[in-house]
Symmetry: none
Subunit: 244 residues, 2 copies
DNA sequence: GATGTCATGTGGACTATACCACAACGGGGG
DNA sequence: CCCCCGTTGTGGTATAGTCCACATGACATC
Protein backbone atom coordinates (compact mmCIF):
# COMPACT_ATOMS: atom_id res chain seq x y z
CA UNK A 1 0.00 0.00 0.00
CA UNK A 2 1.48 3.26 -1.08
CA UNK A 3 1.66 6.09 1.38
CA UNK A 4 0.54 9.66 1.21
CA UNK A 5 3.04 12.49 1.16
CA UNK A 6 1.64 15.12 3.48
CA UNK A 7 4.33 17.60 2.43
CA UNK A 8 3.50 17.36 -1.26
CA UNK A 9 1.78 20.13 -3.12
CA UNK A 10 -0.52 17.45 -4.51
CA UNK A 11 -3.66 17.40 -2.37
CA UNK A 12 -4.08 14.37 -0.16
CA UNK A 13 -7.44 13.51 -1.61
CA UNK A 14 -5.91 13.52 -5.07
CA UNK A 15 -3.04 11.29 -4.04
CA UNK A 16 -5.50 8.91 -2.44
CA UNK A 17 -7.66 8.95 -5.52
CA UNK A 18 -4.67 7.96 -7.65
CA UNK A 19 -3.86 5.12 -5.27
CA UNK A 20 -7.39 3.78 -5.39
CA UNK A 21 -7.52 4.19 -9.15
CA UNK A 22 -4.28 2.23 -9.47
CA UNK A 23 -5.64 -0.57 -7.30
CA UNK A 24 -8.64 -0.87 -9.56
CA UNK A 25 -6.54 -0.70 -12.70
CA UNK A 26 -4.13 -3.32 -11.40
CA UNK A 27 -6.98 -5.66 -10.55
CA UNK A 28 -6.09 -5.63 -6.89
CA UNK A 29 -9.78 -4.91 -6.79
CA UNK A 30 -12.13 -6.62 -9.22
CA UNK A 31 -15.49 -5.26 -10.32
CA UNK A 32 -18.02 -5.81 -7.56
CA UNK A 33 -15.37 -5.94 -4.83
CA UNK A 34 -15.87 -3.59 -1.97
CA UNK A 35 -13.16 -1.10 -1.19
CA UNK A 36 -12.27 -0.37 2.42
CA UNK A 37 -14.84 1.73 4.20
CA UNK A 38 -14.23 5.44 4.44
CA UNK A 39 -13.49 5.08 8.15
CA UNK A 40 -10.99 2.34 7.36
CA UNK A 41 -9.26 4.52 4.84
CA UNK A 42 -9.04 7.40 7.31
CA UNK A 43 -7.26 5.20 9.78
CA UNK A 44 -4.92 3.50 7.33
CA UNK A 45 -3.78 6.73 5.74
CA UNK A 46 -4.09 8.91 8.80
CA UNK A 47 -6.46 11.41 7.24
CA UNK A 48 -9.90 12.69 8.06
CA UNK A 49 -13.04 11.14 6.72
CA UNK A 50 -13.96 14.19 4.66
CA UNK A 51 -10.72 13.85 2.75
CA UNK A 52 -11.16 10.15 2.19
CA UNK A 53 -14.72 10.77 1.11
CA UNK A 54 -13.62 13.41 -1.35
CA UNK A 55 -11.23 11.00 -3.04
CA UNK A 56 -13.88 8.32 -3.24
CA UNK A 57 -16.43 10.84 -4.51
CA UNK A 58 -14.14 11.79 -7.35
CA UNK A 59 -13.86 8.18 -8.45
CA UNK A 60 -17.57 7.65 -8.03
CA UNK A 61 -18.14 10.66 -10.21
CA UNK A 62 -15.89 9.18 -12.84
CA UNK A 63 -17.76 5.93 -12.73
CA UNK A 64 -14.86 3.92 -11.37
CA UNK A 65 -16.62 3.15 -8.09
CA UNK A 66 -20.20 3.19 -6.88
CA UNK A 67 -21.57 3.63 -3.40
CA UNK A 68 -24.41 1.92 -1.65
CA UNK A 69 -25.62 3.50 1.51
CA UNK A 70 -25.46 1.14 4.43
CA UNK A 71 -23.39 -1.38 2.49
CA UNK A 72 -20.20 0.13 1.22
CA UNK A 73 -18.35 1.31 -1.83
CA UNK A 74 -17.66 -1.04 -4.69
CA UNK A 75 -15.67 -1.28 -7.87
CA UNK A 76 -17.82 -0.61 -10.90
CA UNK A 77 -17.80 -2.74 -13.99
CA UNK A 78 -15.85 -1.23 -16.81
CA UNK A 79 -18.19 0.88 -18.84
CA UNK A 80 -19.00 -0.40 -22.27
CA UNK A 81 -17.40 2.48 -24.13
CA UNK A 82 -19.63 3.92 -26.75
CA UNK A 83 -16.95 3.86 -29.43
CA UNK A 84 -19.46 2.83 -32.01
CA UNK A 85 -19.05 6.40 -33.20
CA UNK A 86 -22.48 6.08 -34.65
CA UNK A 87 -24.34 9.30 -35.04
CA UNK A 88 -27.24 10.63 -36.94
CA UNK A 89 -29.36 13.58 -37.68
CA UNK A 90 -32.69 15.20 -38.36
CA UNK A 91 -31.82 18.85 -38.65
CA UNK A 92 -33.56 19.85 -41.84
CA UNK A 93 -35.67 22.22 -39.87
CA UNK A 94 -32.69 24.16 -38.63
CA UNK A 95 -32.90 26.25 -41.72
CA UNK A 96 -36.62 26.53 -41.24
CA UNK A 97 -35.79 28.27 -37.98
CA UNK A 98 -33.88 30.87 -39.94
CA UNK A 99 -30.41 29.69 -39.05
CA UNK A 100 -27.51 29.19 -41.37
CA UNK A 101 -26.74 25.51 -41.68
CA UNK A 102 -24.35 23.45 -43.72
CA UNK A 103 -23.00 19.94 -43.75
CA UNK A 104 -19.60 18.37 -44.27
CA UNK A 105 -19.39 14.78 -45.39
CA UNK A 106 -16.70 13.07 -43.35
CA UNK A 107 -17.08 9.67 -44.92
CA UNK A 108 -19.17 8.00 -47.57
CA UNK A 109 -18.87 4.26 -47.90
CA UNK A 110 -20.56 1.16 -49.18
CA UNK A 111 -20.68 -1.82 -46.86
CA UNK A 112 -22.50 -4.95 -45.88
CA UNK A 113 -25.19 -4.15 -43.38
CA UNK A 114 -24.71 -5.48 -39.90
CA UNK A 115 -27.42 -7.67 -38.51
CA UNK A 116 -28.92 -4.87 -36.50
CA UNK A 117 -29.14 -2.62 -39.50
CA UNK A 118 -30.52 -5.42 -41.66
CA UNK A 119 -33.24 -5.97 -39.13
CA UNK A 120 -34.02 -2.33 -38.61
CA UNK A 121 -34.16 -1.61 -42.32
CA UNK A 122 -35.83 -4.92 -43.04
CA UNK A 123 -33.27 -5.98 -45.65
CA UNK A 124 -33.02 -9.43 -47.13
CA UNK A 125 -29.51 -10.93 -47.35
CA UNK A 126 -29.56 -10.30 -51.13
CA UNK A 127 -29.99 -6.59 -50.69
CA UNK A 128 -27.94 -6.13 -47.57
CA UNK A 129 -25.53 -3.59 -48.98
CA UNK A 130 -25.91 -0.15 -47.51
CA UNK A 131 -24.38 3.26 -47.93
CA UNK A 132 -22.88 4.54 -44.74
CA UNK A 133 -22.72 8.29 -44.51
CA UNK A 134 -20.93 10.14 -41.74
CA UNK A 135 -21.63 13.83 -41.72
CA UNK A 136 -20.81 16.74 -39.50
CA UNK A 137 -23.39 19.47 -39.34
CA UNK A 138 -22.75 23.10 -38.64
CA UNK A 139 -25.22 25.70 -37.51
CA UNK A 140 -24.22 29.33 -37.56
CA UNK A 141 -20.66 28.26 -38.22
CA UNK A 142 -20.41 26.05 -35.15
CA UNK A 143 -20.28 22.25 -35.18
CA UNK A 144 -23.72 21.12 -34.19
CA UNK A 145 -24.19 17.43 -34.67
CA UNK A 146 -22.41 14.35 -35.87
CA UNK A 147 -24.60 12.11 -37.91
CA UNK A 148 -24.11 8.55 -39.02
CA UNK A 149 -26.69 7.26 -41.44
CA UNK A 150 -27.28 4.00 -43.24
CA UNK A 151 -29.47 3.72 -46.31
CA UNK A 152 -30.03 0.59 -48.40
CA UNK A 153 -28.16 0.69 -51.73
CA UNK A 154 -31.02 -1.06 -53.48
CA UNK A 155 -33.33 1.86 -52.84
CA UNK A 156 -30.87 4.52 -53.91
CA UNK A 157 -29.02 3.21 -56.96
CA UNK A 158 -26.29 5.54 -58.06
CA UNK A 159 -26.14 7.47 -54.80
CA UNK A 160 -22.66 8.86 -54.37
CA UNK A 161 -20.73 11.27 -52.30
CA UNK A 162 -20.66 13.80 -55.10
CA UNK A 163 -24.39 13.59 -55.53
CA UNK A 164 -24.95 14.23 -51.85
CA UNK A 165 -22.41 17.01 -51.53
CA UNK A 166 -24.02 20.24 -50.49
CA UNK A 167 -27.49 18.78 -50.35
CA UNK A 168 -29.85 17.39 -47.83
CA UNK A 169 -30.25 13.63 -47.89
CA UNK A 170 -34.00 13.96 -47.56
CA UNK A 171 -34.16 16.50 -50.32
CA UNK A 172 -32.17 14.14 -52.50
CA UNK A 173 -34.47 11.25 -51.71
CA UNK A 174 -37.39 13.36 -52.77
CA UNK A 175 -36.01 14.84 -55.97
CA UNK A 176 -33.66 12.20 -57.34
CA UNK A 177 -35.41 9.07 -56.12
CA UNK A 178 -39.02 10.20 -55.98
CA UNK A 179 -39.24 9.05 -52.44
CA UNK A 180 -41.44 10.83 -49.99
CA UNK A 181 -40.83 10.23 -46.33
CA UNK A 182 -43.94 9.55 -44.34
CA UNK A 183 -42.73 9.45 -40.79
CA UNK A 184 -39.92 8.49 -38.49
CA UNK A 185 -39.46 7.00 -35.07
CA UNK A 186 -36.69 8.06 -32.85
CA UNK A 187 -35.39 7.61 -29.37
CA UNK A 188 -33.41 10.08 -27.36
CA UNK A 189 -30.91 9.18 -24.73
CA UNK A 190 -28.22 11.08 -22.91
CA UNK A 191 -24.69 9.80 -23.31
CA UNK A 192 -21.16 10.99 -22.74
CA UNK A 193 -19.33 11.79 -25.92
CA UNK A 194 -16.28 9.84 -26.96
CA UNK A 195 -12.94 11.36 -27.81
CA UNK A 196 -13.71 11.25 -31.51
CA UNK A 197 -17.11 12.81 -31.13
CA UNK A 198 -15.68 15.42 -28.82
CA UNK A 199 -13.00 16.30 -31.32
CA UNK A 200 -15.49 16.68 -34.15
CA UNK A 201 -17.97 18.68 -32.13
CA UNK A 202 -15.37 20.83 -30.42
CA UNK A 203 -16.27 19.55 -26.98
CA UNK A 204 -14.34 18.08 -24.12
CA UNK A 205 -14.44 14.28 -24.10
CA UNK A 206 -17.07 13.07 -21.69
CA UNK A 207 -19.37 16.02 -22.15
CA UNK A 208 -23.00 14.97 -21.97
CA UNK A 209 -24.68 14.94 -25.34
CA UNK A 210 -27.92 13.74 -26.81
CA UNK A 211 -27.99 10.57 -28.85
CA UNK A 212 -30.87 10.35 -31.28
CA UNK A 213 -31.50 7.04 -32.96
CA UNK A 214 -33.88 7.24 -35.83
CA UNK A 215 -35.57 5.10 -38.39
CA UNK A 216 -37.20 7.00 -41.22
CA UNK A 217 -39.99 5.48 -43.26
CA UNK A 218 -41.18 6.19 -46.77
CA UNK A 219 -44.57 5.06 -47.86
CA UNK A 220 -46.40 2.99 -45.32
CA UNK A 221 -43.84 1.17 -43.25
CA UNK A 222 -40.88 0.97 -45.58
CA UNK A 223 -37.76 1.80 -43.61
CA UNK A 224 -35.33 3.74 -45.76
CA UNK A 225 -32.85 5.16 -43.32
CA UNK A 226 -31.36 4.29 -39.99
CA UNK A 227 -29.29 6.89 -38.27
CA UNK A 228 -27.60 7.72 -35.03
CA UNK A 229 -26.88 11.33 -34.29
CA UNK A 230 -24.96 13.03 -31.55
CA UNK A 231 -26.16 16.51 -30.69
CA UNK A 232 -24.34 19.02 -28.61
CA UNK A 233 -26.61 19.55 -25.69
CA UNK A 234 -24.86 22.36 -23.88
CA UNK A 235 -25.45 24.90 -26.53
CA UNK A 236 -28.59 23.70 -28.13
CA UNK A 237 -31.82 22.74 -26.53
CA UNK A 238 -34.62 21.05 -28.31
CA UNK A 239 -37.99 22.52 -27.98
CA UNK A 240 -40.90 20.25 -28.40
CA UNK A 241 -44.54 21.13 -28.37
CA UNK A 242 -46.94 18.34 -27.69
CA UNK A 243 -50.52 17.71 -26.90
CA UNK A 244 -51.51 15.96 -23.74
CA UNK B 1 -33.76 35.75 -0.93
CA UNK B 2 -35.37 32.42 -0.31
CA UNK B 3 -34.58 30.56 2.85
CA UNK B 4 -33.40 27.08 3.52
CA UNK B 5 -35.63 24.54 5.20
CA UNK B 6 -33.45 22.77 7.70
CA UNK B 7 -36.16 20.24 8.44
CA UNK B 8 -36.59 19.15 4.84
CA UNK B 9 -35.42 15.80 3.59
CA UNK B 10 -33.81 17.70 0.74
CA UNK B 11 -30.16 18.33 1.65
CA UNK B 12 -29.22 21.90 2.46
CA UNK B 13 -26.56 22.00 -0.21
CA UNK B 14 -29.10 20.91 -2.78
CA UNK B 15 -31.61 23.56 -1.70
CA UNK B 16 -28.87 26.17 -1.87
CA UNK B 17 -27.84 24.96 -5.27
CA UNK B 18 -31.39 25.40 -6.54
CA UNK B 19 -31.50 28.90 -5.11
CA UNK B 20 -28.26 29.89 -6.79
CA UNK B 21 -29.38 28.28 -10.02
CA UNK B 22 -32.57 30.29 -9.85
CA UNK B 23 -30.67 33.50 -9.30
CA UNK B 24 -28.64 32.82 -12.39
CA UNK B 25 -31.72 31.85 -14.38
CA UNK B 26 -33.55 34.96 -13.25
CA UNK B 27 -30.70 37.18 -14.32
CA UNK B 28 -30.34 38.46 -10.80
CA UNK B 29 -26.81 37.53 -11.71
CA UNK B 30 -25.52 38.19 -15.21
CA UNK B 31 -22.73 36.24 -16.88
CA UNK B 32 -19.41 37.42 -15.51
CA UNK B 33 -20.96 38.67 -12.28
CA UNK B 34 -19.47 37.37 -9.12
CA UNK B 35 -21.69 35.52 -6.73
CA UNK B 36 -21.38 36.14 -3.00
CA UNK B 37 -18.26 34.62 -1.51
CA UNK B 38 -18.58 31.29 0.19
CA UNK B 39 -18.13 32.97 3.55
CA UNK B 40 -20.89 35.41 2.69
CA UNK B 41 -23.22 32.59 1.77
CA UNK B 42 -22.50 30.79 5.03
CA UNK B 43 -23.48 33.83 7.00
CA UNK B 44 -26.58 34.70 5.00
CA UNK B 45 -28.01 31.23 5.10
CA UNK B 46 -26.64 30.20 8.46
CA UNK B 47 -24.78 27.19 7.18
CA UNK B 48 -21.20 26.01 7.30
CA UNK B 49 -18.72 26.78 4.59
CA UNK B 50 -18.35 23.15 3.54
CA UNK B 51 -22.04 23.03 2.74
CA UNK B 52 -21.97 26.28 0.81
CA UNK B 53 -18.92 25.09 -1.05
CA UNK B 54 -20.61 21.84 -1.97
CA UNK B 55 -23.52 23.67 -3.56
CA UNK B 56 -21.21 25.95 -5.49
CA UNK B 57 -19.08 23.00 -6.56
CA UNK B 58 -22.10 21.28 -8.02
CA UNK B 59 -22.92 24.31 -10.14
CA UNK B 60 -19.30 24.69 -11.17
CA UNK B 61 -19.36 21.06 -12.21
CA UNK B 62 -22.42 21.75 -14.31
CA UNK B 63 -20.81 24.71 -15.97
CA UNK B 64 -23.18 27.25 -14.49
CA UNK B 65 -20.47 28.94 -12.45
CA UNK B 66 -16.70 29.06 -12.51
CA UNK B 67 -14.24 29.72 -9.72
CA UNK B 68 -11.04 31.71 -9.68
CA UNK B 69 -8.84 31.25 -6.72
CA UNK B 70 -8.19 34.47 -4.91
CA UNK B 71 -10.82 36.32 -6.89
CA UNK B 72 -14.20 34.70 -6.44
CA UNK B 73 -16.86 32.66 -8.14
CA UNK B 74 -18.55 33.93 -11.26
CA UNK B 75 -21.51 33.24 -13.46
CA UNK B 76 -20.58 31.44 -16.66
CA UNK B 77 -21.92 32.46 -20.03
CA UNK B 78 -25.27 30.92 -20.77
CA UNK B 79 -25.75 28.25 -23.33
CA UNK B 80 -27.21 29.74 -26.45
CA UNK B 81 -30.56 28.15 -27.07
CA UNK B 82 -31.57 26.83 -30.44
CA UNK B 83 -35.12 25.78 -30.68
CA UNK B 84 -36.26 23.51 -33.42
CA UNK B 85 -39.79 22.59 -32.88
CA UNK B 86 -41.01 19.40 -34.38
CA UNK B 87 -44.52 18.17 -34.26
CA UNK B 88 -44.65 15.32 -31.87
CA UNK B 89 -47.15 13.23 -30.17
CA UNK B 90 -45.34 12.96 -26.89
CA UNK B 91 -46.96 10.66 -24.45
CA UNK B 92 -46.54 11.75 -20.90
CA UNK B 93 -48.58 8.95 -19.59
CA UNK B 94 -46.59 5.96 -18.48
CA UNK B 95 -49.63 4.08 -17.39
CA UNK B 96 -51.06 4.32 -20.86
CA UNK B 97 -48.16 2.11 -21.85
CA UNK B 98 -49.36 -0.51 -19.41
CA UNK B 99 -46.66 0.02 -16.84
CA UNK B 100 -47.09 0.25 -13.11
CA UNK B 101 -46.31 3.74 -11.92
CA UNK B 102 -46.44 5.55 -8.62
CA UNK B 103 -45.11 8.72 -7.10
CA UNK B 104 -43.54 9.69 -3.81
CA UNK B 105 -43.76 13.28 -2.68
CA UNK B 106 -40.40 14.32 -1.29
CA UNK B 107 -41.33 17.87 -0.47
CA UNK B 108 -44.40 20.06 -0.72
CA UNK B 109 -43.94 23.73 0.04
CA UNK B 110 -45.41 27.13 -0.47
CA UNK B 111 -43.05 29.89 -1.49
CA UNK B 112 -42.71 33.18 -3.30
CA UNK B 113 -42.09 32.56 -6.98
CA UNK B 114 -38.71 33.54 -8.32
CA UNK B 115 -38.67 35.98 -11.18
CA UNK B 116 -38.18 33.31 -13.78
CA UNK B 117 -41.11 31.35 -12.50
CA UNK B 118 -43.23 34.47 -12.28
CA UNK B 119 -42.46 35.24 -15.89
CA UNK B 120 -42.91 31.73 -17.12
CA UNK B 121 -46.21 31.30 -15.33
CA UNK B 122 -47.20 34.88 -16.05
CA UNK B 123 -47.93 35.74 -12.45
CA UNK B 124 -48.57 39.23 -11.16
CA UNK B 125 -46.75 40.22 -7.97
CA UNK B 126 -50.04 39.89 -6.06
CA UNK B 127 -50.40 36.25 -6.97
CA UNK B 128 -46.77 35.28 -6.93
CA UNK B 129 -47.11 32.53 -4.37
CA UNK B 130 -46.52 29.08 -5.76
CA UNK B 131 -46.59 25.55 -4.52
CA UNK B 132 -43.30 23.81 -5.03
CA UNK B 133 -43.62 20.07 -5.36
CA UNK B 134 -40.66 17.74 -5.46
CA UNK B 135 -41.64 14.26 -6.44
CA UNK B 136 -39.87 11.05 -7.19
CA UNK B 137 -41.51 8.85 -9.73
CA UNK B 138 -41.28 5.12 -9.92
CA UNK B 139 -42.04 2.90 -12.86
CA UNK B 140 -42.23 -0.83 -12.36
CA UNK B 141 -40.83 -0.33 -8.89
CA UNK B 142 -37.71 1.46 -10.08
CA UNK B 143 -36.99 5.15 -9.57
CA UNK B 144 -37.66 6.76 -12.88
CA UNK B 145 -37.63 10.51 -12.67
CA UNK B 146 -37.19 13.35 -10.23
CA UNK B 147 -39.62 16.12 -10.83
CA UNK B 148 -39.59 19.60 -9.41
CA UNK B 149 -42.78 21.43 -10.22
CA UNK B 150 -44.15 24.87 -9.48
CA UNK B 151 -47.84 25.72 -9.73
CA UNK B 152 -49.50 29.03 -8.83
CA UNK B 153 -51.37 28.93 -5.55
CA UNK B 154 -54.06 31.24 -6.89
CA UNK B 155 -55.09 28.68 -9.46
CA UNK B 156 -55.15 25.80 -7.04
CA UNK B 157 -56.64 27.08 -3.78
CA UNK B 158 -56.50 24.45 -1.11
CA UNK B 159 -53.96 22.29 -2.85
CA UNK B 160 -52.04 20.35 -0.25
CA UNK B 161 -49.67 17.51 0.11
CA UNK B 162 -52.43 15.26 1.40
CA UNK B 163 -54.64 16.10 -1.52
CA UNK B 164 -51.91 15.24 -3.97
CA UNK B 165 -50.77 12.10 -2.22
CA UNK B 166 -51.19 9.07 -4.40
CA UNK B 167 -52.60 11.02 -7.30
CA UNK B 168 -51.46 12.51 -10.53
CA UNK B 169 -51.12 16.28 -10.51
CA UNK B 170 -52.76 16.48 -13.88
CA UNK B 171 -55.60 14.26 -12.79
CA UNK B 172 -56.08 16.45 -9.76
CA UNK B 173 -56.11 19.58 -11.89
CA UNK B 174 -58.84 18.04 -13.97
CA UNK B 175 -61.07 16.63 -11.28
CA UNK B 176 -60.62 18.98 -8.32
CA UNK B 177 -60.00 22.21 -10.18
CA UNK B 178 -61.87 21.63 -13.41
CA UNK B 179 -58.79 22.49 -15.35
CA UNK B 180 -58.06 20.86 -18.64
CA UNK B 181 -54.55 21.03 -19.99
CA UNK B 182 -54.34 22.01 -23.60
CA UNK B 183 -50.66 21.67 -24.42
CA UNK B 184 -47.15 22.04 -23.11
CA UNK B 185 -43.78 23.20 -24.29
CA UNK B 186 -40.62 21.59 -23.20
CA UNK B 187 -36.93 21.59 -23.83
CA UNK B 188 -34.64 18.64 -23.48
CA UNK B 189 -31.01 18.82 -22.60
CA UNK B 190 -28.47 16.28 -21.46
CA UNK B 191 -26.85 16.93 -18.12
CA UNK B 192 -24.82 15.06 -15.56
CA UNK B 193 -26.77 14.22 -12.48
CA UNK B 194 -25.71 15.56 -9.11
CA UNK B 195 -25.07 13.46 -6.05
CA UNK B 196 -28.54 14.11 -4.70
CA UNK B 197 -30.27 13.36 -7.96
CA UNK B 198 -28.16 10.26 -8.36
CA UNK B 199 -29.09 9.09 -4.91
CA UNK B 200 -32.77 9.54 -5.54
CA UNK B 201 -32.70 7.89 -8.94
CA UNK B 202 -30.39 5.10 -7.90
CA UNK B 203 -27.68 6.15 -10.31
CA UNK B 204 -24.02 6.88 -9.99
CA UNK B 205 -23.33 10.60 -9.67
CA UNK B 206 -22.29 12.05 -12.96
CA UNK B 207 -24.38 9.68 -14.99
CA UNK B 208 -25.80 11.45 -18.00
CA UNK B 209 -29.49 12.09 -17.68
CA UNK B 210 -32.14 14.02 -19.51
CA UNK B 211 -33.33 17.32 -18.14
CA UNK B 212 -36.80 18.25 -19.32
CA UNK B 213 -38.01 21.75 -18.65
CA UNK B 214 -41.69 22.07 -19.18
CA UNK B 215 -44.42 24.64 -19.14
CA UNK B 216 -47.94 23.23 -19.25
CA UNK B 217 -50.85 25.32 -20.43
CA UNK B 218 -54.55 25.06 -19.69
CA UNK B 219 -57.03 26.76 -21.93
CA UNK B 220 -55.47 28.87 -24.61
CA UNK B 221 -52.17 30.15 -23.30
CA UNK B 222 -52.64 30.06 -19.57
CA UNK B 223 -49.53 28.61 -18.00
CA UNK B 224 -50.39 26.50 -15.00
CA UNK B 225 -47.25 24.55 -14.30
CA UNK B 226 -43.53 24.88 -14.66
CA UNK B 227 -41.40 21.86 -14.02
CA UNK B 228 -37.87 20.61 -14.21
CA UNK B 229 -37.65 16.92 -14.49
CA UNK B 230 -34.63 14.65 -14.45
CA UNK B 231 -35.11 11.38 -16.30
CA UNK B 232 -32.91 8.36 -16.13
CA UNK B 233 -31.74 7.94 -19.66
CA UNK B 234 -29.93 4.65 -19.45
CA UNK B 235 -32.95 2.48 -18.87
CA UNK B 236 -35.70 4.43 -20.46
CA UNK B 237 -35.64 5.87 -23.88
CA UNK B 238 -38.14 8.29 -25.18
CA UNK B 239 -39.74 7.33 -28.34
CA UNK B 240 -41.02 10.07 -30.51
CA UNK B 241 -42.91 9.69 -33.69
CA UNK B 242 -43.08 12.73 -35.87
CA UNK B 243 -44.07 13.76 -39.31
CA UNK B 244 -41.55 15.24 -41.67
C1' DG C 1 5.89 57.80 -11.96
C1' DA C 2 7.42 53.21 -11.06
C1' DT C 3 8.06 49.67 -7.81
C1' DG C 4 7.73 46.84 -3.92
C1' DT C 5 5.20 45.61 0.42
C1' DC C 6 1.46 44.42 3.09
C1' DA C 7 -3.35 43.87 4.56
C1' DT C 8 -7.43 41.90 3.06
C1' DG C 9 -10.55 38.82 0.85
C1' DT C 10 -11.00 34.90 -1.99
C1' DG C 11 -11.18 29.86 -3.00
C1' DG C 12 -8.48 25.18 -1.82
C1' DA C 13 -7.49 21.80 1.41
C1' DC C 14 -7.90 19.60 5.70
C1' DT C 15 -9.22 18.17 10.52
C1' DA C 16 -12.27 16.42 14.08
C1' DT C 17 -16.65 15.54 15.23
C1' DA C 18 -21.54 14.68 15.14
C1' DC C 19 -25.94 12.74 13.93
C1' DC C 20 -28.76 10.48 10.49
C1' DA C 21 -30.66 6.72 7.28
C1' DC C 22 -30.01 2.45 5.65
C1' DA C 23 -28.38 -2.56 5.21
C1' DA C 24 -26.96 -6.63 7.25
C1' DC C 25 -26.70 -9.68 10.91
C1' DG C 26 -27.90 -12.22 14.88
C1' DG C 27 -30.37 -13.26 19.03
C1' DG C 28 -34.68 -13.82 21.39
C1' DG C 29 -39.54 -14.53 21.45
C1' DG C 30 -43.72 -15.97 19.09
C1' DC D 1 -39.48 -22.43 12.46
C1' DC D 2 -40.11 -17.63 11.36
C1' DC D 3 -40.39 -12.92 12.54
C1' DC D 4 -39.28 -8.87 15.19
C1' DC D 5 -35.89 -5.94 16.96
C1' DG D 6 -31.68 -4.30 18.56
C1' DT D 7 -26.68 -3.89 17.33
C1' DT D 8 -23.20 -2.76 14.23
C1' DG D 9 -21.12 -0.84 10.26
C1' DT D 10 -21.79 1.80 6.21
C1' DG D 11 -22.25 6.03 3.49
C1' DG D 12 -24.85 10.95 3.64
C1' DT D 13 -24.94 15.27 5.52
C1' DA D 14 -23.53 18.98 8.26
C1' DT D 15 -20.80 21.80 11.64
C1' DA D 16 -16.86 24.83 13.12
C1' DG D 17 -12.71 25.73 12.80
C1' DT D 18 -7.62 25.88 10.71
C1' DC D 19 -3.97 26.93 7.50
C1' DC D 20 -2.60 27.79 2.74
C1' DA D 21 -2.08 29.98 -2.09
C1' DC D 22 -3.44 33.49 -4.78
C1' DA D 23 -5.40 38.14 -6.50
C1' DT D 24 -6.13 42.74 -5.56
C1' DG D 25 -5.65 47.29 -4.15
C1' DA D 26 -3.84 50.71 -0.91
C1' DC D 27 0.17 52.56 0.51
C1' DA D 28 4.95 53.62 1.27
C1' DT D 29 9.29 53.89 -0.81
C1' DC D 30 12.54 54.76 -4.38
Amino acid sequence: MRKLDKESVVPLYYQLKEILQTMVDDDDLAPGDSIPSERDICERFGISRMTASKAVSALVHEGVLYRERGRGTFVASPKPTCTSSCLTGFSDNIRAAGLEAWTRILAFGEEEASRTIREVLDLSPQEATVFNILRLRYVEGEPFSLENAWVPRCRFPGLSRDLLEGRSLYDLMRTDFSMRLSHARQTIEPVLCSDFEAGQLDLDPGTPVLLFRRVAYAEPQVAVEYSKCIYRGKRFKYEIAFGI
